[in-house]
Symmetry: D2
Subunit: 351 residues, 4 copies
C-alpha cells in the first residue's frame, strides 16, 4: 500500500531533505509540495538536487491543497503549524518538524518561544528512554497508530541520545550536565541573516545562544527527565562551524560515586542494544559527523575521565536526517505500521 | 537473481564509495572486501560510515579470496589490476575503477603512466557519444554482456559529458578546447601527501598538473575523438578546492562559424534527451556540485558567449559517484542485463 | 607627515579590509568611518576584528563628515561614488574601490552597468603594462600626484596580471583567451543573497555570470588592449568555492607560432622583474591562494602546454588585498609620493 | 638595537608562523632558519607565503649553525629541545614553542609525555593570573630579563585565559570545570596522518583525545591552580573542525553560591583591564575565531546561565599566533626589555 504525501515548506532545507528521503521511500508518494514565497515555481528550480521530483510544482499552503493526503509533513518556522493543522482531517497523519508541539509545559513555551501554545504531540524520537516511576520503555511504543507527531529539535536529539542512558541507569548525575555542540549552519534554515553568510562562517567557529537561552534547552530537560533521573540542569552551547550539515555533541556528566567505567559502558550498550539507527562505538573510538551525512544514524562514543570524574559522550548525527527528516519518516513508519527502517539508509556519505 | 560481489581496495575512498552504492543495491550482495594493508580489520573500523556492512572483515587480495564471485570491482592505484585480473575467471564480470584499461593507445599509456600495458577494456561511460564514420550511437551499446569494464577517470567524465555533444553535432571546434576544473581532494585518494593535508587545502585553491601533464588528458582526447570531430586539442587544468567531493568542470570551445545559440542548445539537448543520469539545465541556469553529492547525476549548464565566440559548458558531478562508483555500478547493471538505473539515486545530498 | 583618512562604506568587507590595512600604515591616520545603515554604532561592534580601531564610531556619509581629510577611500556598491565625489574638495585624494570610474568607454558602462556615467579616473593597478604605439611603460607612472584613483575589480587584477606580459611581448594571441577563476564569496560583499549563504557554499563549487556577462569582462579587455596587443577576446567564468577570500585565476592563451617555452618565461619575468608585489614562480611551481591571504602579493605560475599549443598562467591574489584594499593603499602611496610599499605586507597568512 | 634571530623547525606550521610574525618585527632580524628534512632548500620553496624571507636557505640544526644569535626560537615536536638547548650559550634567549619545559611536575610529564624531563622554564603567558597565598600578580613579571621561555600549548592558552579570572576572584568553583574546543588542524602540525587529510576534515567535525588524555590537560590544571583556587578538576575535549587555524574554547564552571552576574563580569573585566591582547566583550556579545586570525588577540565572551548555575566563557584565539608564535614574540619582547606589543598586530584577517 502506498501513502500519498504532502510536504509543506518544501523550499526550505528541512523540507528539501524530507523530499530527498521520501523520494526513495517505497511506500510514500510525494504528491504535493507547498511553499508560499516560491509557489508557482517548479521544484526543479528551487531544489535542483531533487532530480526525481523536479516535475512537481510548488503550490500555496491552503487547506484545499493539503486535503486528501494520507500524510502531511510540516517543515515550517515555529508558530505556523497550529493554524495549518486545524484545517486538516484528524485522520491524516501530520508530522511537524517545527517546534510547536514539542514542549509539554506551557510556561516553558511562553518563556522560550512565546505566542499561542497548541499543546504537545507524541514525540518523534523512537529511541527516547523512559524510566523511573513512569515505567521503563522507549518512546516508539507511544507512536504506534498516532495521527500527530512532533519531530524533535536536531540539537535535542543529539544531546538526548548521548546522555539519557546514563541517567536512566543512574550512573551519572542529572545535575551539572554540560553540552557543547559543533553544528553546521543548515540547522538554521535558509534565512537571510548576516551571520549565516558564507564569508562569515568559512574558516571560523562562532557560538550562538550562549548562556542557556537556546530554545532547545527546555526540550532537552523534558526528555532527560523522562528517564526518571529527577531534576535536570544542563549548560548548553552550540557552536557554528564551517560544514553545511552535521552535529557533533560533546555532552559530559558527573559520575555518580562508585560507578566504574564498565558500569558506564554497560548502561549505554544496554540502552541501544538492537537499535537500527543508534550505535555505541567500541571503547576508544569516537564518531565524526561525516560518518553520518545523509544517513539516519546516530553514532555515540563514550569515555570516562577518571581525573575529572566525568563521563564524556560524543554523539554525531546529520541534523537534517536523524535530526529532522529521517526522524520524521522513521516516526511516520511506526505510526503507520510500516517497518521502522523502511526507506532510511544507515550509511553515511563520507568522505 | 542476486549477484555476489567482491570489492578490491575497500579501504580507499573509491572502494568505500563502491560499498556505499552497492549496500543499497537490490541485486548485488557484497560478500568479500579486500585491502592489503588493513587486512584482518573489521570494515566498521576502517569505514565507520558503512554501518550496514560493518560486520565484514577485510581480507587480503588473493586469487583464492576473489574466486567464486559473480562480479569483482577493483578500486586500486593504476598498475595493479592487470596482474590481479589474470587470476580471475574470464566469466567473472571485472569492473576496474583504476586507469589500467582505459587507454586504447599504448604510446599514450607509456607517456602518461608507464609500466606494463594491459590493453583497453569496454569503457564504462554509457552516455559517451559515438559519431562520424564510426557510426552514431552511445557507449552503452558496447557494454551489454561484456565481462570486463574500464571505469573512466572522474575528471574525464565531467569534461567528456560537457563537450561531446557539441563536437558530434559539429557546432564547436575540436581545436582550442579549454577545461578548468574545481575538484575536491577525495579524487586523489587517501594518500598521505603533504599537499593533501587539511591545513593546506582549507581556505585555499591550488592547481596541480598544470600545462597538460595530467593523466586524464589523453583519455579525454580519446573520448572526444570518438564523436567523429577529428583531432582534438585541449588545455586541461584541475584546481583543488576545499570541498571533500565534487567536480565542477568549466569547459569552453570555439563556436563554429554561423552557429546560433539555438543550434548549440539543440545539440546538447538532443544528445542527452531521455538520459536518466545526465541533464541539460534550462538556459540561464547552471549547476553547483552540492546538487549532485552522493548522486549518480551529471548536470550540465550551457551558455554562448557571443563576444568571445565561445560556448561555455559547466558540468557538475560527484567524483566518487558518477565519476567512479556510480559509473561502475551503472555499467555493471548494463553488462549484466539489469535495469541501468538499478540501485542508483539521482537525488543529491544538498545543502 | 601623516595623512588624515576617511573610509566610506566601512561596514562592508572592502571597507573593513581598507581599515585593517590602514590601521598598520605608518603615515595614514583613520579619523572618520562612515556607513549609512550602521551609522551610530561603534566600529568594534560591526567589525570586531579591528581591535585597534574599535573606538571609532560609524557616521553618516555626508559632505560635512567627509570634509577636511587628506584622503577619502570609497568602498561602496557601484553607482554611488559619483555623487559623493562631487561634494569633495578637488585637492582631496579620492580612491574609489567601486566600479564607477574604471571604464573609459561609456558604451561599455551602459551595457554592463547602466545608470549615469562619471568617466574614468587614473587606474589603480601600478603594475599594469602599457605597450604598442601608446608607448611602453607601466601604470604607476600615471598615478604620481593624481587626486582621483579608480581601484580595479578584483578578478580583473588577477586576469590582467596573468595575461598582460605575454600580450605585450607578442608571444600569445589576444584572441581566444580563456579565464576561469576560483573565487571566495567575500568578493561579492556582505549582501544578503540566498546563494551566498554558508549552507549553499560550504562543500560546493558554483559558477556565476557564465557566458561573458560578468561586469569585469570589459575592464579586462580594456586593460589587455593597453598592452598594444590589438583586439582582445576573452571567455571569462568565475566559480565560487568554499574559501572566504582569495582568487585563483587560471588564464590560458594560444601560443603564437614559433614561440618557445623560454620565450614565454622571459616575457613574464621581464614584465615583473623588480616588482615588489608581483612575482613569477620558477618553472614547475604554482601558487595557491593561501600563500597570499592578507598580503598585497600576486603570485604567478606559468606553463606551456605543447600539445594544446597554449600558455597556462595561474595567478593567486587575495581579492580583498591586492584585489581591493591593498591596491588602493599602494596606489595612494604612489599618488602621495610615499614609498609604494609603505604599510603593505608581502607575507601571506598560511596555512 | 636589532636582535639576531634563528628559528629552528622553520618548515613546520609553528615555525612558519614565527617567521611571518618576526618578518614584520622592527627589532628582530631573522638570520638563520633550520629544518632537518628540508635542509638545503630555499625557504621560498618550503613556505611560499613568506615572500620577504624567500631568500633564506634552510640549514641543518647544529650547535654551530645556531651559535651567535641573540634569540633562538624552537618550533619542534616535544622531546627535542632539551638536547638542542644544552648546546646553546646560556646568555642566548631561547624561546621554546614545544612542550618540553612547560610542566613543573615531573610525574605529570612522565604520565602525559614520557622520556627525559628537562624541567620547567619561565612560562610565556604574560596575562596568566597569579593569586592566593602565592601573591597576586601576572606572569609577565616573571619574564623580565629571563633567558629561557616555555611558550604555552595553544589550547591551554585559550582555556586558561577563559577561566582564570573567575577562579582568582573566587566566583566559580575549581571543580567540575568543562572545556570543549573547536580547533583547526594546523594545531596538529604538518604531520602526515590519515585523520588530518583534507578529505577527512572537510565537511566534518571530529573529536580527539577524549576523556582527559590530551597532553594539554595537566598544563591547564597547573595554570589554573596558580590563581590560588585550590585543586582543579577539568574535563577537556578538543574537536577538529574544518578551518585551518583558530581555537574557540567554550569553558564552563559552576557559579559559587551567592555570586551575581555582575560579580562575574567584574571579575573578568578586572583581570584583563588594560591588557593589550586580551579583551572581554560586552554582555551579549561573543567572539568568532575569524576575528583573531593572524592577530595576537584573545577575545572573551561571558554569560551566566542562571538555570544551570554555571558561567559560560567563550575564548577565541588564533592557535598559531596568540596560541604559539605571537605569544613567543610577546614574551621575548618582555624578556629583552622591548615594548611588549612590538611587532604584533591586534587586528584579525576577517572575513
Amino acid at each position: 500500500m502506498t501513502f500519498s504525501v504532502a510536504v509543506v515548506g518544501a523550499s526550505g532545507y528541512a523540507g528539501g531533505e524530507l523530499l530527498r528521503v521520501l523520494a526513495d521511500h517505497p511506500e510514500f508518494e510525494v504528491r504535493t509540495v507547498t511553499a508560499n514565497q516560491s509557489a508557482g515555481l517548479p521544484l526543479g528550480e528551487v531544489a535542483p538536487h531533487l532530480r526525481s521530483l523536479a516535475h512537481l510544482t510548488l503550490r500555496e499552503t491552503t487547506p484545499e491543497v493539503l486535503a486528501g493526503h494520507d500524510v502531511v509533513f510540516l517543515a515550517l518556522p515555529h508558530g505556523m503549524s497550529g493554524a495549518i493543522t486545524e484545517g486538516l482531517d484528524p485522520q491524516t497523519l501530520v508530522v511537524d518538524c517545527g517546534a510547536d508541539h514539542r514542549l509539554t509545559d506551557e510556561a516553558e513555551w511562553a518563556t522560550f518561544y512565546g505566542g499561542d501554545f497548541y499543546g504537545a504531540w507524541p514525540y518523534g524520537l523512537p529511541e527516547l528512554l523512559h524510566g523511573g516511576t513512569g515505567g521503563y520503555g522507549k518512546q516508539r511504543e507511544q507512536l504506534v497508530g498516532v495521527k500527530r507527531i512532533a519531530v524533535p529539535g536536531c540539537n535535542v536529539t543529539a544531546v538526548t541520545l548521548g546522555l539519557a542512558p546514563g541517567l536512566r541507569a543512574g550512573v551519572i548525575s542529572p545535575q551539572d550536565l554540560v553540552a557543547v555542540l559543533a553544528v553546521g549552519p543548515s540547522g538554521a534554515g535558509k534565512s537571510l541573516k548576516p551571520h549565516l553568510l558564507a564569508s562569515e562562517i568559512l574558516g571560523s567557529a562562532m557560538p550562538y545562544a550562549v548562556g542557556g537561552t537556546h530554545r532547545h534547552v527546555p526540550e532537552i530537560r523534558q526528555n532527560l527527565q523522562l528517564t526518571g533521573a529527577g531534576a535536570v540542569s544542563i549548560s548548553f552551547t552550540p557552536v557554528l562551524v564551517p560544514m553545511s550539515r552535521g552535529i557533533l555533541a560533546t555532552a559530559t556528566a558527573r559520575l555518580e560515586p562508585g560507578v566504574s567505567a564498565a558500569d558506564v559502558r554497560a548502561a549505554w550498550e544496554l540502552a541501544y542494544n538492537g537499535e537500527p539507527f543508534v550505535h555505541v562505538l567500541p571503547a576508544g573510538r569516537f564518531p565524526k559527523t561525516a560518518d553520518v551525512v545523509g544517513a539516519n544514524t546516530a553514532l555515540i562514543g563514550l569515555a570516562v575521565d577518571e581525573a575529572a570524574e566525568r563521563v564524556v559522550t560524543i554523539t554525531a548525527i546529520d541534523n537534517l536526517v536523524k535530526g529532522t527528516a529521517g526522524a520524521a519518516v522513521q516516526s511516520a513508519n511506526i505510526a503507520l505500521g510500516l517497518p521502522e527502517t523502511l526507506g532510511l539508509t544507515v550509511n553515511g556519505v563520507a568522505p
